[in-house]
Structures are given as C-alpha cells and as structure tokens.
C-alpha cells in the first residue's frame, strides 16, 4: 500500500512540477516581451 501511495504522490509531484515550470517559463517570456516593447517605444 505504501508503494502505491508513493507512486501516486510522485506522479502528482512530477506532473504539477512540470505544469508550474511551463507557466513560469511563459511568464518570463511575457515579461521579456513587455520589457523589449517598452525599450522600443523609448527609442
């Protein structure tokens, strides 16, 4: 039973971790886009 719980918890951690990583990477790209557009406007 412990192995079953460990397996399900690991699946949850890996899938949640990857999804969160994707969201964070997307947010970083969006921040960079806004920064570059602001720089372009200043010029």
């Amino acid at each position: 039973m412990e192995n079953l719980i460990i397996a399900y918890v690991l699946i949850a951690i890996v899938l949640t971790g990857y999804s969160v990583t994707l969201v964070r990477r997307r947010q970083a790209v969006e921040r960079e886009r806004i920064r570059l557009q602001a720089k372009d406007e200043q010029e």
């Binding site: 039973m1 690991l10 890996v14 899938l15 990477r25 570059l36 720089k39 406007e41």
Partner: protein, 252 residues
Amino acid sequence: MARSGAMGLTSAKQERAKPVGLYWKYLDDAVIAPINRVIGVIALLNIAVALLMALFYAPRETTMGDVQRIFYFHVPSAWIGFLAFFVVFLASLMYLLRRERKWDALALSAAEIGVVFTTLVLLTGPLWAKAAWGAFWVWDARLTTTLILWLIYIGYLMLRGSAEGERRARFSAVLGIVGFLDVPIIYISVTIWRTMHPTLIVGEAGGLAPQMTQTLMVALLSFTLLFAFLLIQRVRLEQARDQVNFLREAIG
C-alpha cells in the same frame, strides 16, 4: 511612433529582422488559449475520475494486492511517452523535409513531454517491481530498453542546449528519428526476449477484469487529454520565445 505588423514593433525595425508569426494559424492566443483551457479542465476532471476508479472501482488484484493499482497510471504514462516520441519522429521528419522552424519547435516540445512521462514510467515501475519481484530494478529487456529510450531523449534535450541554430535543429531531428527506433523494440521486447515484465491481456480468460479494463481506458483518455494540453502549451511557449527573440534582434 508609427507601429505596424507583428508585436507592435516599429516598421523600420521590423525590416531589420525576420518576423516570426504564428507557427500555425490556430496557435493565435485568442483562438487557442480558451480551447486549451477547456482541454485542461476536462483532462483534470478525467484524471480525478480515473483516480477514484483506480482506488475504489477497480477490484483488488488477488496476487499482488493494492500495489497493482500503480498499473492504472504506469501504463498510460508509457503510452504517452511513446505517443510523444512518435510526434518527435514525425515532426523531425517534417523538419528535415521542409526546414521550417515550426516542426523543430513541435519536436522539441513533444520530446520534453515524452521525457516527463517516461520519467514517471521509470519511477512507478520500480515501486511496483519491489512489491512484485522483491527488487526495485532488474536488468530485464523491457526495463533496460525503456531506460535506454529515456537516456536517448535526455541526450536529445542536452544536444539542443549545446549546438546553435539550423545545425542544432538538423542534428536534433536526426536523433529524434533514430531514437524512436527504440519504441517498437520496447513494445516487442516482452515477446522476443525472455522477460519478467508482465504483458497486458485484455478480454481473454485470465486477462483483466472488465472494471480494470474500464479504469485503464479512462486513465488512458485522461493522460491523452493532458498530453494534448501540455503539448499545446509547450508549443505556444516556443512560439512566444521566437517572437521575443525577433523583438530582441530587431531592437538590437
């Protein structure tokens, strides 16, 4: 300041850099974002149903007991791993034929997701094996070929970090195609070699009980939906990165 075209960049600057539009017209955020949100919600609900079915609906396996329930997410993880690497294979072929960045981006996205799901296979399998075989790992044909597959695509992702530009895409495409050859080997490994890994028997005497099959099907569907959701998200991320790189190049 007069603005035109992609990403609101001034037209003079746009001329200095090659614009990056959408990889595919459906990948416009206004179109794909709400659709993908729906796919994500359905996938999550489906996973919740699959989890409840795995824990409470599927009968307890007589020999192995509760640890057998790992199977309901172990097999779908393997299926998604194979599906993802098949997408890498197709996208890599398309890249070599057409030399379009969108195919390279699709291959990269699918490879990353394939590695995530194959990691799940390699984590959950040993937890089942410890209870069934008394050891976390044995150098069985299926286990070994699956580990090789994982290492090939870890190598693929590392390769992408080492080379640059068109060369990187070309080398990756070749590795993406060659690496996929391991998938059919994994599939037939249980029949061509003497192996300890169980084979899936559905609808025959001595095979899975109907409730077990139904639970497995729901889990397979839920992971397939999750794969679609993650793949769309990952390709959109790559597209956004290309657009930002275009802006950076244009601004200088």
